[in-house]
């Protein structure tokens, strides 16, 4: 934790690398289908010829930039560039529709930097104790966490609970298609080779979110986004003011993101959703979530960037990667001969601390880089004529889906899902519950099967599922999420009835 590691990290060369990494990551993250995992996998070999600390700073910078970049497509095209940005679409796209896309992009940047810094400082100062969180979470806790995640559908689908739940259930069914993750059974493929690979999250995301937007763009004559005045710059001052007013929200969401990031397998999408539902729960009367509320964007973007630091905690302390990009960094460390584990902070301290300081520097670099790139991203999306925008984005969806595993059938599945998503959206079924079901279904299933196996073996099924303190806490939260909106609605109805009399 010495200052000297900071100086090692802050050489001009490393600063350039951090800046370049953040910029490259932002661009990669903004294109749906291109993921941080892909970018890192290709770049690992350069860590062999480079000084390990510099190389790691570059990898960390790309990762953190990609999580922020995911917000661009979410805000401007209603398509999460990365799964982590799913909840960014809830308020980001409505804001952009209203003509505040530039403000939304700047808000996302401030929030991402804040979340990234809090996550990185947690990694720097509290890694060993916080890593215990990862171990305290057993199969049953993951099961309840995903049930909690699914219960958020209730709070997200305002006034449309049944349709939201139906979408969630449909997503869970989609998630069971193909080879089951842990039981290795082949399910619901109807003998088709194509379906064995199942429905990938990224491909489904692109199909369900992006294709309907493209269809609508072609179907209606209006401009894509409303523009009131000439675009000069992203509204930095205004965004900064809003961010300062939401200090509490930013800090709370960042802490949520850090904690969820520590759980291997949960990831940025869950972090963003939990933070979003928390900020929505405490909504003030004038705040209209889902219709372009700045606090919604800030909650999600700070939480998902906080998972970067959070995710490196189990990676570095326990040698257990939290996310695929963490796993790649772990692999790069192993090749360098760095032994991860509890003793790593002493034995390989110089590399580790230089890396953490590098991550902090990269996060700070994201402020200028993100605002600048955000400005161009916004400008180009609003000024490009539709006749160019639609084919360009359409082309990117196909390339992005194909790139995931070089599969044409993935592209066909993506297009079919897109058409399906557009049709069901006419009947009030949103994409988010379906994608939530797809992401959380496997986590719930694995946790349930494992919890049941262990509980049955030890003759303690009830204790296994309901007797553990963390599980009880999550169950309580789930109940609050489910019951509170109903209760509030009743009370409001009563109050309204009272005034009428």
């Amino acid at each position: 934790m010495n200052f000297e590691h900071f100086l090692t990290a802050a050489t001009p060369f490393n600063l350039c690398l951090a800046l370049f990494g953040v910029a490259a990551g932002t661009i990669v993250g903004s294109i749906p289908g291109l993921t941080a995992t892909m970018a890192l996998a290709v770049l690992v070999p350069i860590t062999f010829s480079m000084d390990p600390a510099s190389a790691l700073i570059l990898l960390g910078a790309i990762y953190t930039g990609a999580l922020y970049g995911g917000a661009y497509a979410a805000i401007l095209l209603n398509t999460p560039g990365t799964p982590s940005a799913i909840a960014t679409t809830f308020d980001g796209y409505p804001m952009a529709k209203k003509g505040d896309g530039d403000l939304a992009v700047a808000l996302a940047c401030f929030a991402s930097v804040c979340g990234g810094l809090i996550g990185a400082f947690a990694l720097l100062l509290l890694a060993p104790p916080l890593s215990k969180v990862a171990l305290a979470f057993g199969p049953v806790e993951y099961f309840w966490l995903s049930v909690f995640g699914l219960s958020l559908i209730a709070s997200l689908s305002t006034g449309n609970l049944m349709k939201g739940l139906a979408g969630g259930a449909f997503g869970m069914i989609l998630s069971t298609v193909g080879v089951a993750e842990i039981s290795a059974d082949i399910r619901l493929t109807f003998g088709s080779q194509t379906l064995i690979s199942g429905f990938g999250v990224v491909g489904t995301l692109i199909g369900l979110y992006c294709i309907p937007v493209l269809i609508d763009l072609v179907a209606v004559p209006d401009r894509h986004l409303k523009v009131e005045k000439d675009v000069k710059s992203v509204r930095i001052g205004e965004a900064f003011g809003l961010a300062m007013r939401s200090k509490f929200n930013l800090v709370r969401s960042s802490i949520i993101g850090t904690l969820v990031g520590i759980l291997p397998g949960a990831g940025g999408s869950v972090a963003g959703l939990v933070a979003y539902s928390e900020v929505k729960r405490g909504a003030k009367p004038h705040q209209k979530f889902g219709e372009g509320e700045p606090d919604g964007i800030m909650a999600v973007e700070s939480a998902n960037n906080a998972t970067v630091g959070g995710g490196f905690i189990p990676t570095l302390v326990l040698g257990i990667p939290g996310t695929p990009p963490d796993a790649i960094v772990l692999g790069a460390l192993l090749v360098q001969g760095v032994r991860t584990g509890p003793t790593m902070f002493q034995q390989s301290g110089s590399i580790v601390y230089t890396f953490i300081y590098g991550l902090i520097i990269a996060t700070i670099m994201m402020l200028p880089a993100g605002l600048l790139i955000g400005r161009y991203a916004y400008k180009s999306i609003v000024t490009i004529p539709k006749a160019v925008l639609v084919p360009a984005v359409g082309f990117m969806t196909i390339i992005g889906t194909f790139a995931i595993r070089n599969s044409i059938s993935d592209v066909v599945i993506m297009l079919c899902l897109g058409l399906f998503g557009w049709v069901v959206a006419r009947f009030g079924f949103a994409a988010s519950p379906i994608v939530l079901g797809l992401i959380l279904g496997p986590i719930a299933e694995q946790g349930f099967v494992q919890g049941w196996t262990i509980g049955a073996a030890t003759n303690n099924l009830t204790g296994m599922f309901f007797g553990r303190p963390i599980s009880q806490g999550i169950i309580a939260f789930t109940l609050i999420t489910l019951v509170l909106p109903v209760f509030m609605a009743k009370r409001r109805a009563k109050a309204a009835g009272g005034t009428a009399q």
Partner: protein, 317 residues
């Protein structure tokens, strides 16, 4: 026709760089090395360890990419449709490539895969936490016999190397343990460290990665692993268990014999490098040298054993 293209490319390369060796003359650029799993697993780590040595010896980058899906099946089913010019290779894993097609039609068969080199294996190991009451293998066996089914053991996947090891071990000892499948070794180890289960069926690599946090009760090798001189083999303790998960590399089966031979020689050369061997051993792997010429016999033997085990365990019909 295809061969001619390769030769032309090779000739062009030789003109450009007179220093090119015979083998690398046929590689026309960076090699796409597909791992049909996500990052962070044993397949990924060993590929990462190969990268710098391959680059140093043959001047070309091995570019690792991940195509997870169906426990590897998605990647292997696509392999034979890929370009056979020697610029694309894919990792293969035993017992996966034997068990999967035997369970159901997954789009490939074991014999269709053009595996040209098996370069290492991760020996099975029974792992407990450092503060576990099981000091020796016998402690665990005794507990499992006294409390049938109560000893829970995590492992990576079902019908996998870990699962087969559990079934085999239970049968040998007459004990009854409960196998809890997780998604990948990382998750199985997390469950062990978090005390969700009492032991883990893993590999020697788990011992290398976790260091003092865990204790290996035994390893399934002929002789002790150099990294763990104090850990007995199952054989020493009276159980005839030698094996684990074997990993190699395959080309599309349309690749010419020359290309296959070239690759077999190149990977063999990397495997012979002392520094590479040391890195692999330090990470807990055990090296293996089965080249293209010896592959048929090796596969036949492995296949017979896995299918027998899986059939007895009721995993396949």
């Amino acid at each position: 026709m295809l061969r001619r293209t390769i030769l032309k490319a090779g000739a062009a390369m030789a003109l450009v760089t007179s220093l090119a060796t015979v083998a690398s003359a046929e590689l026309s650029g960076p090699v796409n090395y597909i791992i049909p799993f996500g990052p962070g697993g044993e397949s990924d780590i060993s590929a990462r360890l190969q990268q710098p040595f391959f680059k140093e010896k043959f001047g070309q980058d091995l570019v690792v990419s991940y195509q997870p899906g169906g426990g590897g099946a998605v990647g292997w089913a696509s392999l034979n449709g890929l370009s056979s010019d020697g610029q694309t290779i894919m990792g293969v894993n035993l017992p996966h490539i034997v068990i999967k097609p035997a369970q159901k039609d997954v789009g490939f068969t074991t014999d269709e895969l053009n595996t040209f080199y098996m370069f290492h294996f991760t020996p099975d190991a029974l792992v407990v936490t450092a503060d576990s009451p099981y000091q020796t293998l016998e402690d665990l066996v005794a507990d499992a016999k006294a409390n049938p089914g109560q000893v829970t053991i995590s492992g990576s996947g079902k019908a996998s190397a870990n699962h087969l090891a559990q079934i085999k071990f239970d049968k040998m000892t007459g004990a009854m343990t409960t196998y809890v499948p997780f998604k990948g070794t990382g998750a199985a180890v997390t469950a062990l460290l978090g005390k969700q289960v009492k032991a883990e069926w893993g590999y020697t690599t788990v011992g290398a990665a976790q260091g003092d946090a865990v204790r290996l009760l035994a390893v399934a090798m002929e002789e002790r692993h150099p990294l763990f001189p104090d850990v007995p083999t199952f054989k020493e303790l009276g159980y005839d268990m030698v094996g684990g998960a074997y990993r190699g590399i395959a080309l599309p089966n349309t690749a010419s014999e020359e290309t296959t031979k070239m690759w077999s020689d190149m990977i063999g050369e990397v495997n012979a490098d002392e520094a590479f061997r040391q890195k692999m051993l330090d990470a807990g792997f055990a090296l293996l040298d089965v080249d293209a010429a010896g592959m048929e016999a090796f596969m036949a033997e492995r296949k017979e054993e896995y299918l027998k085990d899986a059939r007895e365990a009721g995993l396949i019909k």
